[in-house]
C-alpha cells in the first residue's frame, strides 16, 4: 500500500548513497540538536532584547549616555506630571530592582498610558540624567481582566487619564 506511486527514475541511484551516510547523519543530528539547544538555553537572551531596563541602562555609565536606546519598565505610580500648557509629559520608569530613570516625552502617548503601566520609550539619556523620549509605547501584560463590579471601561479611561498636576 505504501509503495511509492510515481516512482522517480533516480531512486536507485539515491538509495545506496543514503545507506552509506548513516553514521554521519546520526552525528550530524546530534550536533544540530546541540546547536539548537545552545541557541535556546545559552546566554543569548541578553542580546536580542527589544529594550533595556533602567538598571541595565544606568549600569552602562557614560557609554549609555546620548546614544539611541529603548528603555522599558513600569511607570512609577504617582510619578506622572503633565503640563497642559506646554504639553510636556514627565514620568519615572522603574524596574524590579527599584532603579529609576526620569523620562520626558514629547510624542503623543497612547491612550492606555497611565500610572503603573508597562511602557517602552525610544530616545536618548541626556547627561542631565533625564531621558529624552521621542516615542512612547505601551507594553501590555498578558493579563486580561473584566472590570470589577461597578467599573465601566469607558469611565476607567477617564480616571486613568486624570494626571496629577493637570
Amino acid at each position: 500500500m505504501n509503495t511509492p506511486v510515481n516512482t522517480p527514475a533516480n531512486t536507485p541511484a539515491n538509495t545506496p548513497a543514503r545507506r552509506r551516510v548513516k553514521p554521519g547523519i546520526v552525528a550530524a543530528i546530534v550536533v544540530l540538536v546541540g546547536a539548537f539547544g545552545w541557541l535556546i538555553w545559552g546566554g543569548l537572551d541578553s542580546n536580542v532584547v527589544y529594550f533595556l531596563e533602567p538598571h541595565e541602562l544606568l549600569a552602562k555609565g557614560v557609554s549609555g549616555v546620548d546614544v539611541p536606546v529603548r528603555l522599558g519598565g513600569q511607570v512609577k505610580p504617582g510619578s506622572v506630571k503633565w503640563d497642559e500648557v506646554s504639553s510636556d509629559l514627565q514620568f519615572e520608569i522603574t524596574d524590579t530592582t527599584g532603579m529609576i530613570v526620569r523620562v520626558r516625552s514629547t510624542g503623543v502617548p497612547p491612550q492606555m498610558f497611565r500610572d503603573a503601566m508597562g511602557v517602552v520609550v525610544e530616545g536618548r539619556l541626556g547627561s542631565d540624567t533625564l531621558f529624552h523620549s521621542t516615542s512612547l509605547m505601551i507594553k501590555h501584560s498578558n493579563e486580561y481582566r473584566a472590570p470589577k463590579e461597578g467599573e465601566q471601561p469607558k469611565e476607567m479611561y477617564k480616571s486613568l487619564m486624570k494626571v496629577p498636576g493637570a
Binding site: N2, V5, I40, Y50, I138, H140, Y144, A146, E151
Partner: protein, 240 residues
C-alpha cells in the same frame, strides 16, 4: 470512466462530505464569534479591543499547526515519495501563509490603539514577518518550477527549512525581551475570555482543515487531469 482512472497513479478525490464539513465550519465560526462577543465583557484596560484577540490568537495558533503539517508531509514525501504528500504539504503551506498574514494584520490593528504603534521591530513581530516571507518564497518556488517531481523535492526541502523557524517564533516572547506580551495562561485570563478564545480557536482550526482539504483536492484533481491527458495523448501508457 472507470478505465480512465487507471491512467493516473491516483484517483480524483470526491468531496461530498467535505462540502458539508465546510458549511458547518463556517456556521460554527459565526456562532463562536457571536457567543464570544456576547459573553465576554470589555477588558478593563483595552475595552473592546480585546475582541480582536479572538481572531488574532487562533490564527496564530493554527498557523503553527499548518506549518507543523508542512514539516510532517514534507518529511513523509522525502521518505515515501508519494506525490500526494507533496500536494498536502503545499495546501497546508498556503493556508498557513494565509493565517500568518491574518495574524500580522490583526496584530497591527490591535497594536496601534494598545501599544501606540502599528509595528515594532521586536523579536516576536519580526520573526512572524520573516516566517511569512519564507513561506511566500516557498509558494513562489512552487509556482516557478513546472516539473512535478523536481517541484515536490525542492519544496519539501524548502518547507522543512521554513517550518523549523516556527518554534523560534512561538518561543521568542519567552526567550527574549519583547514588546509583545508572553503567552497568556488560564490564570491570567478572565474565565469568559478563556472560554471565548477556545471556542474561536476550534472555529479557525475547522476552517483551516476545510481549506487545506479543498486546496489539496483542487491540486490532486489537477494532477490527475494532467496524468490522464498525457495518457490520452500518448495512447494509454501511464507515465508520470
Amino acid at each position: 470512466m472507470t478505465s480512465a482512472v487507471a491512467n493516473s497513479p491516483f484517483e480524483a478525490p470526491k468531496s461530498g462530505r467535505w462540502l458539508l464539513f465546510g458549511w458547518l465550519a463556517f456556521a460554527y465560526l459565526i456562532a463562536a464569534q457571536a457567543i464570544s462577543i456576547a459573553i465576554s465583557p470589555p477588558d478593563r484596560d483595552m475595552g473592546d479591543l480585546q475582541k480582536i484577540l479572538y481572531i488574532h490568537v487562533p490564527a496564530a495558533w493554527n498557523m503553527g499547526i499548518c506549518y507543523f503539517l508542512v514539516a510532517i508531509y514534507s518529511m513523509r514525501y522525502l521518505w515515501k515519495r508519494d506525490e500526494r504528500d507533496d500536494l498536502k504539504a503545499a495546501a497546508a503551506a498556503e493556508v498557513g501563509t494565509l493565517l500568518n498574514g491574518l495574524t500580522l494584520v490583526l496584530g497591527m490593528i490591535w497594536g496601534r490603539p494598545t501599544w501606540g504603534v502599528w509595528w515594532a521591530w521586536d523579536a516576536r513581530l519580526t520573526s512572524t514577518l520573516v516566517m511569512f516571507l519564507i513561506f511566500a518564497g516557498y509558494l513562489a518556488l512552487r509556482a516557478f518550477v513546472d516539473e512535478p517531481e523536481r517541484r515536490a523535492q525542492w519544496s519539501a526541502a524548502a518547507g522543512l527549512f521554513g517550518a523549523i523557524n516556527y518554534p523560534i517564533v512561538y518561543m521568542s516572547v519567552r526567550w527574549w525581551r519583547t514588546l509583545h506580551q508572553v503567552q497568556s495562561t488560564p490564570d491570567t485570563l478572565d474565565p469568559s475570555y478563556a472560554l471565548s478564545l477556545r471556542l474561536n480557536a476550534f472555529a479557525i482550526l475547522f476552517i483551516a482543515i476545510f481549506f487545506i482539504r479543498r486546496r489539496y483536492e483542487a491540486a490532486l484533481t489537477e494532477r490527475v487531469a494532467e496524468h490522464e491527458l498525457q495518457a490520452a495523448v500518448l495512447g494509454g501508457s501511464s507515465r508520470g
